[in-house]
Structure formats: C-alpha cells, structure tokens
Subunit: 200 residues, 2 copies
Amino acid sequence: MIYPKKLEAIIEFYKKLPGIGEKSAERMALATLDLPTEEITNVSNDLIDAKNELRPCKICGHITDKEICDICSDEGRNKNIICVLEDYKSVFTFEKTGNFKGVYHVLGGLISPTEGISYEDINIPKLLERIENLKNPELILALKSNIEGETTTLFIKKILEGKNVVISRLSYGIPMGADIDYMDTITLDKAIEDRKKISD
Amino acid sequence: MIYPKKLEAIIEFYKKLPGIGEKSAERMALATLDLPTEEITNVSNDLIDAKNELRPCKICGHITDKEICDICSDEGRNKNIICVLEDYKSVFTFEKTGNFKGVYHVLGGLISPTEGISYEDINIPKLLERIENLKNPELILALKSNIEGETTTLFIKKILEGKNVVISRLSYGIPMGADIDYMDTITLDKAIEDRKKISD
C-alpha cells in the first residue's frame, strides 16, 4: 500500500462520491491534509451532525434540521400549490430557480409494480391527508418521465378523481428520460410556467 | 439559504478541494448524506486521525504515520540512491510507477532568493547529513523545471562538489513547467531510466 492507512481511508471515502475517480480522490485527500486542523475538526463534526440532525420535514418530507422545514413554515408561500417530487434533492434544484412560490411534497420513491412498491410504500397517504385540509388545491406532478414516474402520476390523478383538485404536470422543456437534477434553471422555469393540466 | 446549515457547511468544505466546483460540491454533499451512519462516523474520525497522526518521516521528510516511513525502513531498497523531491505528494506519484527501488528525500519547498527562502529553510541540511553517512551515494534531483527548481538543483550540485556524490536529474520526458504529479507513469519511468548526470 502506497498511502498511510488513514489517508487511504479518506481516498476510499471520496471515491464513493459521484463523479470522483481514483486520481481525483487521491488529489482531494492530499489537499484535505493541507487544510488547517480547525477546518478538519469542523467538517468532521459537521458530517456527523448532518447525518444525525437532518431528517424529513413532518409535512412535506423534504430534508431539514427542524421539525417543519423552512419552506413549509414560510408564511409567504402558497400552501395550495404543491409540487410533488420523487426525491428531496430535486427540491433544492427547484428552489434555485427562485420562481416557484408554492410548496413541495417529497414522495421518497415512485410506484413500481415490478419492484412491489405500492402507493403506501411512498409518501402518498400523507399527500392525500394534506390535500383534504386545503381549499382548491393544485398539484404539480414533477416526476420522472419513465414507467414508474408515469404510473405514479396516473395513480395520483386517479385517486383524486372527483375531488376538487387541479392536477398538472411539468410539460415540455424536460427531455424524455432525463434527470430533473441535471436541468438548467431556465428550462425548469419554463416547465413550471407551461405546466399542463392532465386531461381525461 | 437553500440548504440546511450543516449541509451547507459540507458543501463549502468540498468546494475547497481541487477540481470541485459549486455543482459538484452540492452533489457530493447530498450523496454523502445517503451513506450509512457508520461510514460517516468512520470518515469523520479518519479525517481527524489523519491530520493528527500523519507527520514527516524523521529520515526523508515523506508523510507517514510512523516515526520512520515504510520506504526508509524497507530493507529491500537501495539507501544509496536518493530521489530528491519538492513535495511528499510526488513520492506517491513515483511509488506508483513501482520501478524505483531507491529512497526519497522531501525538501518541502525550493530555494527562492526572491521569496527569501534559503537552503536552510527547506530540508537540505538533513539531506547533506544523510549523504555524509553513505558510501558512493547517488542523488536523483526530480525538481520542477522552473527558476526555483533550477536554483535548488544548482545549489545542491555546487554544495556537493568535490564530495564523492553522483548527481543526476530527471531528463527528457517531463515537459517544461509541468507538474510532476500530473505525469503518466510511463513518462516518469522513462525519466528515471534516462536520468542525466549533471556535467560540469
């Protein structure tokens, strides 16, 4: 082994992160050692704290260090417009556009009959509960354009039939099969602006 | 602020590492949260341990978690051939070629009259001490091909004049001004193989 044990451990850690190969991980680990002790101690604590403190918001399922996330507790946001997402990571992507003034609901997965994932396994019951307490709510379904995403979209549309809920989904601007997290903010803005009501 | 405080702190940390921009840092921080608690705890400890445990080898100045590094304490290596490097990071680069069976000496800097760095500010006195105790030693100077590198190379050559030391330096294969750490192993092998004795 070329590297001292602890340095090797840090390299192995960095290699687990997305887009980081062997050579990058090595350079990053060596650069880490060059940082002041204080910064190393801080990030070491931050890593543990982040893992311990961050949990799903009790209302929307977004990640937060509070009981209710900043978005759900923001009085300035329209609680009647709920953007439904598969993953909390996408909330950050949407928030960066800065233009969406509604709130979110994070499903934490998609319905998949082949993998045995039903609507009860993801955060849909909680979504239905939220909607019950709203007057004229609107749902914007921003799910992947693959089979699971379409299945989940159709399920939500079906289960809310007859209830007074406007359901739309993100429209053109998002390429088929692409990951929402890779979208540029202009495309995302466009997709929110041009959201399309699901017709029967 | 879009991100919870601790997550933001981790993003800021990653941004300090080489080659990591805003977007990469965000993706890496989010991916970090997906790792099991145990791995987070481990790397958190590894970071602090690495910073505390790793120190210069008492003989060659390479980074190590022991008093004497594995290379210096390796009986199979030729202690009479010393490859002189600016930075311990370059030791790892050389070790990856797997072909160099001598030992190293890490200067931890280069002589720079403009910046007021003399030979005593870097690890040269220790190098002279090492050489005193060797019979027919050979130095391979593998320093940058910039002014500071050339100055340091010439200084070492001059101070050892008349002593029975063969001094060579890495020859062609390394482009002018390039960083040794970016070399591929074949080029480095070639440069070791074709090292050139410094003529008067």
